[in-house]
């Protein structure tokens, strides 16, 4: 089944392959429709969304509430299955997968950064970062080393043993970024990552995202704040379940970031 699915993905690639795409896109959405039953009436959350995200892109998906961006985020995050349409993530067709397989895909391919941080209480920063690697079956010694590296990368090398309730919002969100990158996923998926943060922490966090982007990470970020979307190299805007604009932009340089002092004047993201 997976083989056939891969075949489908390859076909999609070939159709779009007039340009010399060396690598397959990380995300290929084609005609994604998601409908919900609400009081006996079918409500369309997305009405045939299609777009691709190439490796190394930093895409912001914008839209007001009700625009379908959360639905899209759930589908991209393999937390939900589209009613119709094709979705392939890093070459794997997501249709026809059961709960077990979806868990595995989420574990291997996606690093989540949620609005509410979503760290597990009663577990230290280190344990939180280790958790997805534990689910992936990585040996304790290796996952501890990798977790330490990830936490040092987000600037929390001094707070490995702190519990989540002992950390500020900005620090918690950095722990969740460390957790997201620890498995070395194909995609970092951030859902309103600055939604619960003050502007200073928000800017620091976006500096971190910019850094990750500069290191070649593929990031998709859902947001409704246009100033946050400015950090991305590409902005996809949704309204009423459809894409109304899809534009490249030169990403904003984080003003308060300490770590992103080096220029992130963006060249790689504008390849399309």
């Amino acid at each position: 089944m997976t083989l056939t699915s891969d075949g489908v993905t390859v076909v999609v690639l070939d159709e779009r392959g007039q340009r010399p795409a060396v690598e397959p896109p990380i995300i290929a959405l084609s005609n994604i429709v998601k409908s919900y039953k609400m009081g006996g009436v079918d409500v369309l959350a997305t009405r045939g969304v299609s777009f691709t995200v190439a490796k190394g892109e930093f895409v912001a998906i914008m839209g007001a509430s009700g625009s379908g961006k959360s639905t899209l985020m759930n589908i991209i995050g393999c937390l939900d299955i589209p009613t119709s349409g094709h979705y392939s993530l890093d070459g794997v067709n997501i249709r026809n997968l059961d709960d077990q397989a979806l868990s595995r895909i989420r574990n291997m391919k996606i690093g989540f950064v949620f609005q509410g941080f979503n760290l597990i209480p009663r577990m230290s920063a280190l344990q939180n970062v280790e958790l997805p690697m534990a689910y992936a079956g990585i040996k304790p010694k290796e996952r501890r080393e990798r977790a330490i590296v990830a936490l040092e990368l987000v600037g929390l090398g001094q707070r490995l043993e702190h519990f989540s309730n002992e950390l500020s919002g900005g620090q918690q969100q950095r722990v969740s970024i460390a957790r997201a990158i620890s498995t070395n996923p194909a995609l970092i998926l951030a859902d309103e990552p600055t939604g619960n943060l003050d502007s200073k922490s928000s800017n620091e966090l976006m500096g971190l995202f910019t850094d990750l982007h500069n290191h070649g990470r593929t990031i998709v970020m859902i947001t409704h704040e246009s100033d946050i979307a400015e950090y991305a190299s590409r902005v996809v805007e949704l309204r009423d379940g459809s894409i109304i604009s899809d534009r490249l932009q030169s990403a904003r340089v984080p003003s308060l970031s300490t770590s992103a002092g080096a220029s992130s004047q963006d060249g790689d993201g504008s390849e399309v």
């Binding site: 759930n74 077990q100 989420r106 979503n118 597990i120 534990a134 689910y135 079956g137 304790p140 498995t183």
Partner: protein, 405 residues
């Protein structure tokens, strides 16, 4: 397997996050397990004490006693149906009753024994030396009453440990001393080793004397005995001995075995009756305890359901970052199992401790099977009661679970 260990650590941490609640949940299992152990111990203790008191009647014995008056059950008038010396000599004859070891005539009466200012109420058994053997009395000092004593109507006695301690100050040697039984004076020639209290009767509150002397001094001359204590040759031939004795007595009294106005108490059948009734009693107690364990199980299930609801968001996070259904299932199952197993272990300890005390006059005896049984049940309670909540947790869709506030 490090994963399993990690799960265990995680479960313990989860449990530790709400100590009071966990403790109360454990208490349910603890009380259940403890009551299983204690109640089974009481059941076992009761049946042990019943067995002991039957055992104290002697070993392999038949007791023949008059069922009162002349038997008219079959409509036939029977005269002179007594247990007398003739009965004793007939049964003693090996040709008549080959499976009988010994026959002891017994006359019982109650007296107040007096030594100077000390008095003690005791039963007096008038019999022959074979009585001591048949009813498992051993002489710890001095000598047993003898056949010569019986023949010579000697006023000599063997006294039980309770009588000795009731009449004599510790340190004084009762041997050779004289005491009054009622108004008659008897000389102590032997002390009986303690048989211990059997819970129902005190086998040590006894004075044994030659029956001839008892008839002379206490009960008055009579043709009949209160009962006959007959010792069989072995446990397996006790029923055989019983029918021989019954035939002899029937022949002596010119009647049939069925019409015989005597009751024959067969110790072996007494034990088996008592054992089966005490088994029923123990099983009943076991069921009562099982009900309380069931209540504990419901408590565990209830609390696990609450825990799952409370931690819906956490489950959502775990599933979002890649926890498979089986991992979540295992995590919550381990949690419920750890709770109830800890409750089980504490309950077993509590049960063992409580079983050391005498409860309602019964000395509980720990049933060897009760601890593994109770722990096994506690473990299965954890798994069974935890399964549904754990399954519910594992089946949550991450998208719903993450949205849960």
């Amino acid at each position: 397997m490090s994963n399993m260990f990690g799960n265990l650590i995680m479960a313990v941490r989860g449990i530790g996050s709400n100590w009071l609640r966990t403790l109360l949940t454990m208490l349910g299992v603890l009380i259940g397990v403890a009551s299983v152990i204690v109640l089974l111990a009481i059941g076992t203790g009761t049946s042990r004490s019943i067995e002991n008191s039957i055992q104290s009647l002697g070993s392999n014995t038949l007791t023949v006693f008059s069922s009162g008056g002349s038997g008219t059950s079959s409509g036939t008038q029977i005269r002179n149906t007594n247990l007398n010396s003739a009965s004793v000599s007939l049964i003693s004859n090996p040709n008549n009753a080959p499976d009988v070891q010994s026959v002891s005539p017994v006359i019982t009466t109650s007296v107040t024994a007096t030594k100077q200012s000390s008095t003690y109420s005791t039963s007096v058994i008038g019999s022959t030396p074979s009585y001591l053997v048949a009813s498992n009395y051993t002489v710890s000092a001095g000598r047993s009453i003898s056949a010569a004593d019986v023949t010579s109507h000697a006023q000599v006695i063997d006294i039980g440990a309770s009588v000795a301690s009731g009449l004599f100050v510790t340190g004084t040697d009762p041997l050779g001393q004289q005491i009054e039984l009622g108004s008659a004076r008897f000389t102590i020639v032997g002390l009986l080793a303690s048989k211990g209290s059997t819970g129902l009767t005190n086998a040590d509150a006894v004075v044994i004397a030659p029956y001839t002397a008892v008839q002379d001094q206490l009960t008055g001359e009579s043709q009949s005995f209160s009962e006959l204590l007959i010792q069989g040759k072995s446990a397996s031939t006790l029923s055989l001995a019983q029918s021989e004795v019954e035939s002899v007595l029937a022949a002596q009294n010119d009647t049939t075995v069925a019409a015989l106005p005597f009751n024959v108490l067969n110790q072996a059948s007494l034990i088996s009756t008592a054992t089966s009734s005490s088994k029923t009693f123990t099983a009943l107690l076991g069921w009562v305890a099982a009900v309380s364990l069931l209540v504990g199980a419901i408590g565990v299930m209830n609390i696990m359901l609450v825990t799952v609801t409370e931690r819906t968001r956490e489950i959502g996070i775990r599933k979002a970052i890649g926890a498979r259904k089986s991992v979540v299932l295992t995590q919550f199952l381990i949690e419920s199992t750890v709770i109830s197993f800890m409750g089980g272990v504490l309950g077993a300890i509590a049960g063992v401790v409580v079983s050391r005390f005498t409860i309602a006059g019964v000395k509980p005896v720990l049933a060897s099977y009760s601890i593994p049984l109770a722990l096994g049940v506690a473990l299965s309670v954890g798994i069974v009661a935890g399964f549904y909540p754990a399954y519910r947790a594992a089946s949550l869709r991450p998208i719903d679970a993450l949205r849960y506030e």
